[in-house]
């Protein structure tokens, strides 16, 4: 019986620390999406991204092919972790290199790039417990006229 009490303490300790990991990662976790899964991070924040891709650095930017994705997968491509998987699974087997551009607006923030455009996503990796250099850590500054824009919209 006493063992159960201590096991419960251990469970809650792990849960408390694991759910708080995003605080230890550099950058705004709601912007980068790092450390937000299976934690109590806010899901109310929206992030709208304009995504473009190109196979070689000298190619023009093109809209990505999202025909094989479900609606929820398309909505979640603004998460860099999922976008990296998308690049690796859809483009990398054929083209062997892919460059992405994610121009995002996080709720009231002014539009700004979310990932570095000069990084080849086919060779990029994703670290779970620390910041990934190919993701830009902070969103743009807050737009003071966001509420007016929202009302008009």
């Amino acid at each position: 019986m006493e063992k159960n009490v201590w096991l419960l303490h251990g469970f809650f300790l792990v849960l408390t620390v694991f759910s708080f990991r995003h605080v230890l990662i550099l950058g705004d976790h709601l912007w980068t999406g790092e450390g937000t899964r299976l934690s109590w991070s806010m899901r109310l924040n929206g992030k709208y991204c304009h995504i473009e891709v190109k196979v070689k650095p000298e190619d023009p930017w093109l809209l990505p092919d999202v025909r094989g994705l479900t609606p929820i997968q398309r909505d979640n491509l603004s998460d860099p972790y999922l976008f990296l998987q998308y690049a690796k699974k859809v483009y990398c087997p054929q083209s062997h290199s892919l460059y992405g551009s994610m121009d995002c607006r996080a709720v009231s923030h002014i539009r700004s790039p979310l990932i570095r455009t000069d990084v080849d996503l086919c060779t990029a990796t994703y670290k779970i417990l620390s910041h990934n250099e190919w993701i830009l850590p902070l969103p743009g500054p807050i737009d003071p006229h966001y509420l007016d824009w929202l009302k008009v919209k």
């Binding site: 019986m1 006493e2 159960n4 009490v5 419960l8 469970f11 809650f12 849960l15 408390t16 759910s19 708080f20 705004d28 709601l30 899964r37 299976l38 934690s39 109590w40 991070s41 806010m42 899901r43 109310l44 924040n45 929206g46 094989g68 994705l69 479900t70 609606p71 929820i72 997968q73 909505d75 979640n76 998460d79 972790y81 999922l82 998987q85 998308y86 699974k89 859809v90 996080a106 709720v107 009231s108 923030h109 994703y126 779970i128 807050i142 966001y146 509420l147 929202l150 009302k151 919209k153």
Partner: protein
């Protein structure tokens, strides 16, 4: 045996308490799982289909992904597990299976993620280890021992409460950021719901300041609610505020059934034996209402006191027995015989 501080601490966690509130929560949680399964089943095409790409979590690339029909079947099974949990049948097994199904839904494709599903997963995990059907289990057996409320240990109840306390407090910490405090995130979410919710539409168009006030109020409530619930004097006001908060969220924000789960969880924050007390009150009321009021209870025969001539009555010239006013007052009511000295004439 000498009682150490450690023993006292462990004893506090092991103290037997009523299983009433935890069992009521088990019923509501089972219903919630069933409701959730239906909600996802209705919109299943939005989440799953026989897609080309599946997004995986690190270390879980091997987890299988299924086609639309199999996922439909999984949601139906999840709903059934919810019913089983609510009825109190094979709860540990049902919770284990529900946990596996929820785990599958979350891990077959990483784009399908909601905090409340992770919360369900954790609760199902705890339901495997703690006894949740010691009260209010549907049974057809006549064995009276099975119908009696059996106690649980304090840590059984606190483990489930703890999950909700963490989720409230961490949600509060999450909101200490400029775009929440200036009301923009609230406004954005209300704008997203304004087509279907008149309340959200009214707020966003006429009174956007409510978004700022609401954002600060929510932050304060989420940070303080876990502590407000612990203190008996602030418990009821905190629960009332939480009820209003979740009700308002359901009306104005696009957050699915999450508000229902948080409202259902409120049954855990009262005294653990509240369902039994309510049950006793209801039984008393029921028995009283079924009592036959036409049968008057027998009153014991009153002791006869002999009347005294001169004090209680006298004989007039015709020889009639006339009661005095003093006698009438002693009797206390009018006999409607028009007595000569009746004090109740008026």
């Amino acid at each position: 045996m000498k009682k150490t501080k450690r023993n006292t601490y462990v004893d506090w966690w092991k103290k037997p308490i009523s299983s009433g509130s935890l069992s009521v929560f088990r019923i509501l949680f089972g219903i919630f799982i069933w409701m959730d399964a239906i909600a996802f089943y209705v919109e299943v095409r939005h989440y799953f289909r026989s897609q080309i790409v599946y997004f995986k979590y690190p270390g879980f690339a091997w987890w299988p992904s299924f086609d639309l029909q199999t996922n439909r079947l999984i949601l139906v099974s999840l709903g059934l597990m919810g019913i089983w949990i609510a009825l109190g049948w094979w709860v540990r097994t049902s919770a284990f299976l529900a946990m596996i199904l929820l785990f599958h839904l979350l891990f077959q494709d990483a784009s399908f993620y909601l905090n409340h599903l992770a919360l369900n997963l954790l609760i199902c995990f705890l339901f495997i280890f703690i006894p949740t059907n010691r009260s209010y289990k549907l049974t057809f057996q006549k064995d009276s021992k099975r119908r009696i409320h059996q106690p649980i240990h304090r840590y059984h109840l606190h483990s489930i409460q703890g999950i909700f306390f963490i989720s409230y407090f961490y949600s509060g910490i999450e909101k200490i950021r400029p775009d929440w405090l200036n009301g923009d995130i609230v406004a954005m979410n209300m704008a997203g719901r304004s087509e279907e919710s008149q309340l959200a539409s009214w707020i966003i168009r006429s009174h956007p300041a409510i978004c700022v006030g609401g954002a600060w109020a929510v932050l304060t409530l989420e940070l303080l609610a876990p502590f407000g619930i612990l203190w008996s004097k602030s418990r009821i006001p905190t629960l009332m505020l939480l009820f209003l908060f979740h009700g308002f969220n359901d009306l104005t924000l696009n957050i699915g059934l999450f508000s229902y789960l948080m409202i259902f969880a409120m049954v855990l924050y009262f005294e653990p034996d509240w369902p039994e007390k309510l049950e006793i009150k209801f039984l008393k009321w029921y028995l009283r209402s079924r009592m036959d009021h036409s049968i008057k209870p027998k009153t014991p025969p009153q002791k006869q006191i002999p009347l005294k001539e001169g004090l209680d009555f006298y004989l007039d010239e015709q020889g009639n027995l006339v009661f005095t006013e003093s006698y009438h007052l002693k009797r206390g009511h009018c006999c409607k015989n028009s007595c000569r000295h009746c004090p109740f004439n008026s």
